[in-house]
């Protein structure tokens, strides 16, 4: 049932709609979650076998399940299915209430189905996840400023590195796709909402439930296993591991729901004339990533379900003494883990292409090649996972084939650079805030890409694998490239969300600090890696003293940049310079609707006759 079936958008008030949802919000969700968590804990202790070695794990797993169901119930996620079950499906008034009509700011705290509200909620969730990950990064760097664990002890440190990795990865997965595939993609394709608005709200609040579980991990014994959750060391961790595994299960539900929704919206709900070759390129980035996510994340779910089985029911999927192997976990993890890199990267690349075209007042260069490159990259990415396992000893004979598929990735990646530079080449490049972050993206992605070539080569990987070189490489890709893409997207679409520009001066200060910080941090980290410093070391030899000190200073600089960005986002929301509905004079549909975007987006669905990159014939709105 989707609100898009409602033909007219003129409704006044929702006095009769909503039912139970009128009294439900994030707070009731929290209360419901805590009550059910406690209830499940109580039941688990009552029926569980206290002498069993799994007792604490079973209790913890029950608590997480209780939390999820209680949260869903409390926030109202299950109202719709329940009413459908008892034969009293939601009325139009109910749906309008759920869409947040006339609810003001309170709709951001509710199970709201409007895709624009969900988009804003995703912006906040992204900032929460990346912020928490960033704070842990500062703690890690503070501990590494000198050798010897002077800040925290090695156990706390080990938990921090795992949590930093996981929070950042989850934050990066939603950083571009979460806010913008929700906020702008439906408008871009000319739809009144996502295909499944209730699932859209479900994906967001399920992510919140997962994030809560993930953060609780730190309070229940931590996650001292490393972020790749390599078995069998996971069997030595306490109940934090159960919380973590359930957080991943819940997170996978969230991304699956979100991915299906994005795909269905673009496939089924494009307006008249919006052919696949007229889609704004960001839409392509989003749907390829969504499709890839649907393939990739179930492996993660499976990996963590097997983990939970081992811990709760004493199976031996990952326990060598019981006939299992950690290689199973490693394979499952990386079959998710490598496609996931492109689930993260492709929306950012799509956004960068979009911004580059609009800002240089030129069409995306060779649109079909660009889309082809993204599809090729997504396709290749499912065939390369074992390059993370070159040195594990698993299947050495597959080294050559996996090296081949991995190095082929250079070709579609090269296409991105060609498209990006040829798009901006001889354009009239408008030097506004989003443009700066696009240039930052190019600079960092070259370094991230080139250093990847070394790691794809087995003789070199035998030296670099497991060292800080790898850490620096993928931070250039994530922090240097995807984060820059995400900020570019934020600066680009912020006026559409708020009607105001993101503060240009603060944005530039933030760019300067972050850009310099990234180079200082990760170039010195490359040097640590070249010198031979392994990853995940809480303390290190004096050989690596200077490079680590420099890395920490760079890390603090990035944090300063991010703090300024946060200040810019907060202060510009109410006090920024007014932007009007189409500040960048672009042609894609999201700029054709008023700001703030009305509920259901369009009075009359538009008819599309060409792609949005014809800037010359643009009619001024």
């Amino acid at each position: 049932m989707s609100t898009s079936t409602i033909e007219k958008t003129v409704h006044k008030g929702n006095a009769s709609g909503g039912g139970l949802a009128r009294r439900q919000n994030f707070l009731t969700g929290l209360v419901g979650g805590i009550i059910f968590a406690w209830l499940f804990w109580w039941i688990a202790r009552l029926v569980g076998d206290q002498s069993s070695r799994s007792f604490s794990d079973l209790t913890a797993t029950s608590v997480t399940l209780g939390w999820l169901f209680g949260f869903w119930l409390g926030i109202g996620a299950l109202n719709g299915p329940f009413r459908w079950l008892i034969g009293r499906d939601q009325t139009r008034e109910d749906q309008l209430y759920y869409a947040g009509e006339n609810l003001g700011v309170s709709r951001y705290w509710k199970f709201t189905t409007d895709h624009k509200v969900v988009g804003v909620q995703y912006i906040v969730m992204t900032m929460v996840l990346l912020g928490a990950g960033g704070i842990l990064a500062m703690a890690i760097r503070t501990n590494l400023i000198t050798p010897g664990n002077h800040f925290v002890n090695q156990q706390v440190y080990n938990s921090f590195i795992s949590m930093h990795g996981m929070l950042m990865i989850l934050g990066m997965i939603v950083a571009v796709a979460g806010p913008w595939a929700n906020f702008v993609v439906p408008i871009m394709v000319g739809a009144r909402d996502m295909a499944f608005p209730r699932l859209n709200a479900l994906s967001l609040w399920t992510l919140v439930a997962a994030a809560a579980l993930l953060l609780t991990t730190l309070a229940v014994g931590g996650l001292p296993v490393g972020w790749v959750i390599l078995a069998p060391i996971t069997n030595q961790a306490g109940v934090g591991m159960d919380f973590f595994a359930m957080a991943i299960v819940v997170f996978t539900v969230s991304t699956t729901v979100a991915g299906v929704n994005t795909l269905a919206t673009v496939v089924k709900m494009r307006t008249k004339g919006m052919t696949f070759t007229r889609l704004p390129i960001f839409v392509w980035g989003s749907i390829i990533a969504a499709a890839l996510g649907l393939y990739a994340f179930p492996y993660f779910l499976l990996a963590e379900v097997l983990q939970l089985m081992d811990r709760n029911f004493q199976t031996s999927f990952y326990v060598a003494s019981g006939g299992g192997t950690g290689w199973l976990q490693a394979n499952l993890f990386w079959m998710m883990g490598h496609p996931e890199v492109y689930v993260i990267l492709l929306p950012a690349v799509g956004a960068i292409f979009e911004i580059a075209a609009v800002m240089s007042r030129k069409p995306v260069f060779s649109y079909k090649t660009a889309v082809g490159g993204m599809v090729a990259l997504a396709g290749l990415s499912i065939l390369v996972w074992a390059h993370h396992m070159f040195t594990t000893g698993w299947a050495p004979t597959l080294g050559g084939p996996f090296m081949l598929t991995t190095e082929l990735i250079s070709i579609p990646t090269g296409i991105f650079f060609l498209v990006l530079i040829a798009t901006m080449w001889r354009g009239n490049v408008w030097f506004r805030l989003p443009t700066l972050w696009v240039y930052g993206f190019i600079f960092d992605f070259v370094i991230g890409g080139v250093t990847g070539i070394y790691l794809s080569d087995i003789p070199i990987d035998n030296q670099f694998h497991g060292t800080m070189f790898v850490t620096a490489h993928f931070h250039y890709v994530f922090a240097g490239s995807v984060l820059f893409g995400a900020v570019a997207a934020l600066a680009f679409w912020y006026p559409k969300v708020t009607g105001r520009f993101l503060n240009e001066t603060m944005g530039r200060i933030s760019f300067g600090l972050t850009f310099i910080g990234i180079q200082v941090t990760f170039i010195s980290m490359f040097l640590s890696g070249l010198k031979g410093m392994p990853r995940r070391y809480s303390s290190y030899s004096m050989l690596f003293e200077h490079t680590n000190f420099i890395t920490t200073i760079g890390g603090y600089t990035i944090m300063a940049g991010m703090l300024v960005l946060l200040a810019a986002v907060i202060t510009s929301w109410k006090h920024g310079e007014a932007s009007g509905p189409n500040p960048w004079h672009a042609n894609s549909l999201e700029w054709m609707v008023p700001t703030p975007v009305p509920l259901e987006n369009f009075d009359v669905l538009p008819v599309i006759t060409e792609d949005p990159y014809n800037f010359a014939e643009k009619v001024d709105h």
């Binding site: 069998p232 060598a320 030097f431």
Partner: protein, 244 residues
């Protein structure tokens, strides 16, 4: 020069490209020797050589992208007031795309051929009278047993110019066995043996570091070893007390 003429002149671009390429090549040739641990095996020579070759291949590409970006920032930046006008709409260029694809494919194929060749060399074994060492990783310690002897040690001693075959396993969780000066690395997994081999070709000490996260004291799972002459190795081996 008007702005449009200025836009067409690519002299600056070529210069920047050339200079950046040279800088990249120089850094690529110099940095491995400057920063990486001193090589003590053929595998390490090969790794360093491959890094240098790959850098030489990648430098022109990276430099080209940087030079183009700099040229773009310098010449295509809109300096007027307000919204820039539309630029000439170039929606594609089959020649450029084909040339780019062919060039990047040729480079990739070269890297692949080199890489597969290097892999074959890296894996090749002389097969002549190798010294077999059983390596056991455990939380948070390496122990070494010389096959065919009663000798166990926690500090590895290896003879120069003789192939060493490591058979690696773990008593508990997964560890990563890596000799930082010899570019050989493989995980120690409970219940199975993984194998690597290398031939130390230089006297001196080397570092063994655990590269797979293994818990509380992972960062202390480091030790050193020494490459000695074959005569000294025999002397050392016979002087070791039988253990266990």
């Amino acid at each position: 020069m008007s702005q449009s003429e200025n836009k067409k002149s690519l002299v600056g671009f070529y210069w920047t490209w050339g200079i950046l390429t040279v800088v990249g090549v120089v850094i690529g040739l110099w940095a491995p020797g400057r920063f990486m641990p001193a090589s003590m095996s053929g595998n390490m020579h090969l790794s360093i050589l491959t890094i240098q070759v790959f850098t030489v291949c990648a430098a022109p590409v990276a430099a080209g992208i940087y030079a183009a970006t700099l040229h773009n920032i310098r010449h295509d930046r809109w300096r007027g007031e307000g919204v820039p006008p539309a630029a000439e709409a170039v929606r594609g260029n089959t020649t450029l795309v084909s040339a780019w694809l062919i060039a990047s494919s040729v480079l990739t194929v070269f890297l692949l051929v080199w890489g597969l060749g290097a892999l074959a060399v890296d894996n090749s074994s002389t097969g002549k009278n190798p010294l077999v060492v059983d390596v056991t990783g455990q939380q948070w310690l390496w122990t070494f047993h010389y096959a065919g002897t009663d000798v166990n040690t926690t500090q590895l001693v290896l003879p120069e110019n003789r192939e060493v075959q490591f058979r690696i396993t773990s008593d508990d969780v997964t560890h990563g066995f890596w000799i930082a000066q010899m570019a050989v690395q493989v995980d120690a997994n409970a219940g199975v043996f993984t194998e690597i081999h290398t031939t130390p070709d230089k006297l001196g000490t080397f570092d063994i570091r655990c590269t797979q996260f293994c818990g509380l004291n992972h960062s202390s799972m480091v030790t050193t070893g020494e490459v000695v002459s074959p005569q000294n190795f025999q002397k050392w081996l016979t002087s070791q007390p039988a253990t266990i």
